[in-house]
């Protein structure tokens, strides 16, 4: 038995290279499969991103354009109720509704001279944005010479008309929404007469929130986010680095530092709403700061980003080879000189990456802001850290919950702005890493 088996094995024993060759195809297949899994994972992510982007962009691009109609406005002093010549202050309180009304009726009479009923009049007026009066006020204040003259002016239309005109441009019947048959026919006539145009929607970037979609903009939210980010960067960056340097370079290893480390890691995983509650109790409750201001928002976000920054900074400092420190000590550098001249500059790319990821996270946060009153309707653009303001993600949330149809495209457009903000921040992180990495090699 033994002999036989021995004999057969001597005859058939494969050499190592045979064994390797036999398995080679299988191993290559496994290798190939492994790579395909990886590519598949990336493709999956990419497709999701693509769907998200096409959805957001296809919904949101319309918000960057607004519809205007051309009207011949006669700045009649009687109708404006501007009676004293030369008194520019009167322009603020003048009755611009009257001149718009006159222009609309004159325009309409040209098409259908039939007398309009009261309902028709109201319907006709509601085609123009309620914000049109402010643009007329601006025209008149900027050039008081137009008083008593007839001027061609482009006026922004109401959001219902805006929706209708935009949906017509996409072909098909057009989304009529709340427009009556009569109103549609007026708008159609304007389109035929070439009185309607689409221009870049500067309002979206220059004005604050509004409940009229055609007047709504992201300026106040954007400024709120910027102020908060300034506070967060100004506080959490130095504090985070100081804490990381102390813990890595100075602190003795004992129970206390262990305890601190566990706590920091824990805090990094705490849901952000908890930081909002903390901010409410400390800054608003104890320090008596006002609600809804970017300063408090920035402080809360500082608390939220600190653990992330400390953890990533510690990792970056730890990664600096100890030979660098030893060499510096060998040349007689003090501990502070070692840290400031050698360790920190080398760790900077890693520290910055971690910090910017933390700030990007802070920029997209809404939950803690709810607690400190920043989920609010803010029209006036905040001028400093103590003015009430909202933030970009909050603005997106509020618009997504609004009944007006035209806010759908504005929501998506605001998301696009937020994404652009985030992409540029991450781009900055990559650039800084490259620059700092190069200069210290």
């Amino acid at each position: 038995m033994r002999k036989a088996s021995h004999k057969s094995s001597t005859a058939k024993v494969p050499s190592t290279i045979d064994l390797v060759n036999r398995n080679l195809a299988k191993r290559k297949r496994a290798e190939w499969r492994f790579r395909v899994y990886g590519i598949g994972a990336i493709l999956f992510g990419f497709i999701c991103l693509l769907i998200l982007f096409t959805d957001i962009i296809s919904k949101g691009h319309g918000a960057f354009f607004k519809t205007q109609i051309h009207l011949q406005i006669h700045f009649n002093p009687q109708r404006l109720q501007v009676l004293q010549p030369g008194a520019i202050e009167q322009f603020n309180n003048a009755n611009y509704d009257n001149v718009i009304q006159d222009a609309l009726f004159a325009d309409n009479a040209r098409i259908s001279p039939a007398l309009l009923s009261a309902v028709d009049k109201r319907q006709l007026l509601s085609l123009i944005s309620t914000g049109a009066v402010y643009s007329l006020r601006e025209t008149l204040t900027d050039s008081p010479g137009v008083l008593n003259q007839s001027v061609g002016v482009w006026l922004t239309v109401d959001d219902d008309v805006d929706n209708y005109v935009k949906s017509l441009a996409h072909g098909g019947e057009g989304y009529t929404g709340r427009l009556s048959q009569q109103q549609q026919s007026w708008v159609n006539r304007w389109i035929e007469n070439g009185q309607v145009r689409q221009t870049f929607n500067t309002t979206f970037f220059t004005s604050g929130d509004s409940r009229e979609p055609e007047q709504a903009g992201i300026r106040s939210a954007l400024m709120g986010s910027l102020y908060m980010l300034l506070v967060t960067i100004g506080l959490s960056f130095p504090i985070g680095i100081a804490a990381a340097v102390y813990l890595e370079e100075y602190a003795p290893i004992n129970r206390v530092t262990d305890f601190i480390e566990v706590n920091i890691n824990n805090l990094a995983a705490v849901p952000s709403i908890i930081f909002g509650l903390l901010g409410l109790a400390i800054f608003i409750g104890f320090f008596d700061m006002p609600r809804s201001v970017p300063l408090v928002g920035g402080l809360v976000l500082t608390l939220m980003t600190l653990p992330t920054i400390i953890i990533s900074s510690r990792a970056a400092i730890k990664a600096v080879p100890s030979s660098i420190r030893d060499a510096a000590y060998g040349l007689g550098a003090s501990k502070m000189q070692v840290v400031l001249h050698h360790v920190l500059p080398l760790a900077m790319p890693g520290v910055l990456t971690g910090a910017i990821i933390g700030f990007a996270q802070a920029l997209g946060e809404t939950a803690p802001l709810l607690m400190i009153g920043m989920v609010a309707f803010i029209v006036d653009v905040p001028a400093d850290l103590m003015d009430p303001s909202s933030a970009l993600p909050v603005q997106i949330f509020l618009w997504s919950d609004s009944p007006e149809r035209a806010f759908v495209e504005r929501t998506s457009a605001a998301i696009m702005v937020l994404l652009a903000f985030l992409i540029s921040m991450n781009g900055l992180a990559v650039w800084l890493r490259h620059r700092l990495g190069r200069s210290h090699q």
Partner: protein
């Protein structure tokens, strides 16, 4: 690195310290209901643009959260006005008084309709509140007629009434924290429940002699639980606070119904339509005259002590109740608010004028 970091820290600490603890606030601070938010913001915006005052700041915190903040006290750091989609509760009045908020002015501004919407493609459905109760309550009266309840057995609408279509009961609606849901429980489920005699009589004392107040209270609680609990087996689907999401879901699923605010129906008429309830479709007139049964009042509460302290409060109230805003052809009804009748508005205006004379004595 070091000096710049230090200077930033110094700058920030300085800002912190110099942050005026109780600075003069020159804008009106409004908190409260997300439903009233939709209307309050419109008024605030116009007010900011047409008056010499700053635009009021309106926070959307929900009715309960808003009134809690409102009742924290009198002073610059407390809100001036609370929006609410329900009337203030006695417990909230107590809280206000504990904190020195003694005089609060209540102003009714209009109504909000709650509609049961369905996809435009769906077959039109007509329901009564009793049928809705049977479709959505967790436990329903035993069909054999005895005074007991069973777990809700109904799967399709037809199971409830042969007149109704043979489709599965599926209703999208807001979560329990929402005021819309509260109003629905009270106005539809509770009402439907009370159409069953034994359930309606449950809270009434059995025999007047012995029933202790404690027993009456437990009976009342039991009735409340039986009447207002929503079923949890998937027929009622919690769709979150966002009404636009409900519109999208209805669009995707023509068999489902959805609970929405009236303004969302008004804005999405190309996608959804409303179900008739108790024979009435929701419209401005049917809600305003009370024919359509599911609507709730919208209020705001003003801290009297703040009038004169914060500039513009009185002017803001006047703008809110003016003809131009809440009148029948004002700008708030255009946003979907159901206006009050002329006499109701006049009564409110009269009260505000009375306030005016008090303020100037």
């Amino acid at each position: 690195m070091k000096p710049s970091a230090l200077s930033i820290i110094c700058a920030c600490v300085w800002t912190l310290i110099s942050a005026p603890a109780n600075a003069m606030r020159d804008y009106i601070d409004v908190v409260g209901s997300s439903t009233v938010y939709a209307f309050s913001t419109v008024v605030a915006e116009r007010f900011g643009k047409t008056s010499q005052f700053h635009t009021p700041k309106i926070e959307s915190t929900g009715s309960g959260g808003g009134l809690k903040l409102f009742c924290q006290g009198v002073g610059m750091k407390f809100p001036d006005i609370a929006n609410s989609s329900r009337r203030i509760k006695p417990s909230e009045i107590d809280l206000c008084q504990q904190n020195g908020v003694n005089e609060v002015i209540e102003i009714l501004i209009g109504f909000d309709g709650i509609v049961l919407a369905q996809s435009k493609l769906a077959e039109h459905i007509q329901l009564t509140r009793r049928e809705l109760y049977l479709a959505l309550a967790k436990s329903v009266p035993n069909p054999d007629g005895s005074a007991t309840t069973i777990d809700n057995p109904f799967i399709t609408w037809q199971d409830i009434n042969p007149r109704l279509p043979n489709i599965e009961i599926e209703v999208f609606g807001p979560p329990p924290t929402s005021g819309t849901r509260d109003a629905f429980s009270e106005l539809v489920l509770d009402y439907g429940c009370h159409t069953f005699d034994w359930l309606a009589q449950m809270s009434e004392p059995q025999s007047q002699a012995q029933t202790s107040s404690r027993e009456a209270r437990t009976r009342k609680n039991q009735q409340r639980r039986l009447c207002r609990m929503l079923r949890e087996d998937g027929a009622y689907i919690d769709a979150g606070e966002n009404d636009n999401l409900v519109v999208q879901k209805l669009n995707a699923n023509p068999n489902a119904l959805g609970l929405l605010g009236f303004s969302f129906l008004d804005q999405n008429r190309d996608r959804i339509k409303s179900a008739k309830i108790d024979g009435f479709s929701p419209s401005f007139s049917s809600i305003a005259n009370g024919d359509y049964p599911i609507s709730r009042p919208l209020y705001f509460y003003v801290k009297k002590a703040h009038i004169g302290m914060i500039p513009g409060i009185e002017a803001f109230i006047r703008e809110f109740v003016s003809d131009n805003a809440s009148g029948e052809s004002g700008y708030l009804p255009r946003k979907g608010m159901i206006p009050l009748s002329k006499s109701e508005r006049q009564a409110i205006e009269y009260r505000i004028n009375a306030l005016h004379t008090i303020m100037h004595q």
